[in-house]
């Protein structure tokens, strides 16, 4: 039972990372392979702050968000002016750089041995509440000016700037927001796993976040969340078929991209209001 609870917790944490990736890749069309860097920054900042500097747990978490956002801002200054493929390459480099730095700053981070003995202070309720709050934020952004402008930037940057949208400024806000969410998730991650090491989240894991966003449907937060939950829980519960689960998932991804290029959910969103309205209409 404890095993399944752990699996569920980790699955839900991945959903937080997917939400961060959704904001960047799904909504704004920024392909970043550096999300892993922010997961690590969040996890290490929180763990080091808590264990080495004996800060209170909430302070450690807040510090992780702050450091993640500031790093996001600094990385964003030069990279967000770059074109698609170059941006991808630089963020890839950033993620790997963070990993390498953590390996070599052994005095602070424990190097390859990682940091052990982190107390388990985060449980499923806190993770679920976090997901709910983050989803609430992102959904609100998506259905007002911010989200519209992000989609416009994704579709046609030049036309967007001629509609009065400050493209660079918007990309920066998205990048910092996404970094903040991802480092927050990373901080929780440390207090769930109780042990962290630099290989926790490499660029392949970052790439998976993008794939999941696309399979779920780049215009659908609902799609991102559901496909994330299915992907990660599937991975854990089907360990007995071994390498075949990767093959199976790859085939699923291929089928979706070929037959439903808009993703499984397209632009469909779950809406409580719509359901309630239908209820009242029926009665």
């Amino acid at each position: 039972m404890a095993f399944y609870l752990k699996v569920l917790e980790i699955t839900c944490l991945q959903t937080i990372f997917v939400l961060g990736a959704y904001l960047m890749t799904g909504l704004t069309g920024l392909f970043s392979l550096g999300q892993g860097g922010f997961v690590l920054i969040g996890a290490y900042t929180a763990a080091v702050a808590y264990l080495k500097f004996h800060l209170a747990f909430p302070v450690a978490i807040a510090l992780a968000i702050l450091v993640g956002s500031v790093v996001g801002f600094l990385i964003g200054i030069p990279t967000l002016r770059l074109h698609r493929d170059y941006f991808l390459l630089v963020t890839f480099g950033f993620g790997e750089m963070v990993r390498a730095a953590l390996l070599h700053l052994a005095q602070l981070t424990g190097g390859a041995l990682g940091i052990a003995g982190i107390p388990q202070l985060v449980g499923l309720p806190m993770i679920l509440i976090s997901i709910a709050v983050i989803t609430f934020f992102i959904a609100n952004l998506k259905r007002s000016r911010f989200g519209r402008n992000c989609i416009a930037i994704r579709d046609d940057e030049l036309a967007a700037s001629l509609m009065g949208i400050h493209v660079y400024g918007y990309k920066m806000r998205v990048f910092v927001l996404s970094s903040a969410i991802t480092s927050y998730g990373g901080a929780l991650y440390a207090f769930v796993l109780m042990f962290i090491e630099p290989n926790l989240f490499n660029w392949l894991e970052s790439a998976k976040l993008i794939v999941i966003t696309f399979v779920g449907g780049i215009n659908s937060i609902t799609g991102a969340i559901i496909s994330s939950v299915i992907y990660y829980s599937f991975g854990e519960f089907f360990r007995f078929i071994d390498v075949w689960r990767d093959v199976l998932l790859a085939v699923a991804v291929l089928l979706v991209t070929i037959f439903r290029s808009q993703g499984i959910f397209g632009s469909w969103e779950f809406s409580l209001r719509r359901i309630l309205r239908r209820r009242t209409k029926a009665t």
Binding site: F137, N140, L141, S144, R145, F146, R148, N149, I151, A152, R154, D155, D156, L158, A159, A160, S161, L162, M163, G164, I165, H166, V167, R173, N219, S267
Partner: protein, 255 residues
Amino acid sequence: MMDVLRVVDIKKNFGGVNAVDGFAMVQAKDEITGIIGPNGAGKTTVFNLITGVYPVDFGKIWFGDRDITALPSHRITALGIARTFQNIRLFRNLTVLENLKIAYGIRIRYTLWEEMVRYPTVGRSEKEGEDLAKNYLSYFGLEKYAGSFPYNLPYGLQRRLELARALMASPKLLLLDEPGAGLNPREIRQLMETILHIQTDNHLSIIVVEHHMELVMAICTTIHVLNFGKKIAQGKPEEIQHNDAVLQAYLGDKV
């Protein structure tokens, strides 16, 4: 009376080609001006320079009493210059209604935080934008397409949608880049009426780049003729029609 736009001797060079070579014009308030010229004459480049798509190599552009020469596109739009595009550029992942609301964005005042927690101001402002957008949709006969995606619309309606979107920003100056491209004669006549209507209804100043002479001659008070980046003629429609340099540029030398 203050001129809406003053373009002073602007130049733009693309890898050795003088796309625009010393173009100047003055746009008077509430007037429709035409820019014509053979293909590759630099007409669209003039628009791109005015709206800040490319930096100007030389010269100055004044919008009212503001120097907008070095401003980025989004600031220029926010000041009150809207435009359409030669090859339609709608946002394919936004609905027709949302495409219009995009242009309304510069008039929205709520902040990022208010958006995130859905302050009441957000809902109110969104409603205002939506009402205005619906007005324009019905004005252009597009109301039944509000929820569809723009590239599912017939070509002629996509053109109208671009026009509606440009108006959503309530500009002072409207730049139309070949609004008649790909339209049939009947649609061209409709377009002429539409342009004249929106001009009087909104007290707009309009600059049109166009190939359809019939349209330009009918609606413009002043016409500038460009060839190889240089202005070869300027005047009223009837003057342009009988200008030797213009005839030569379009038809070649007299035999």
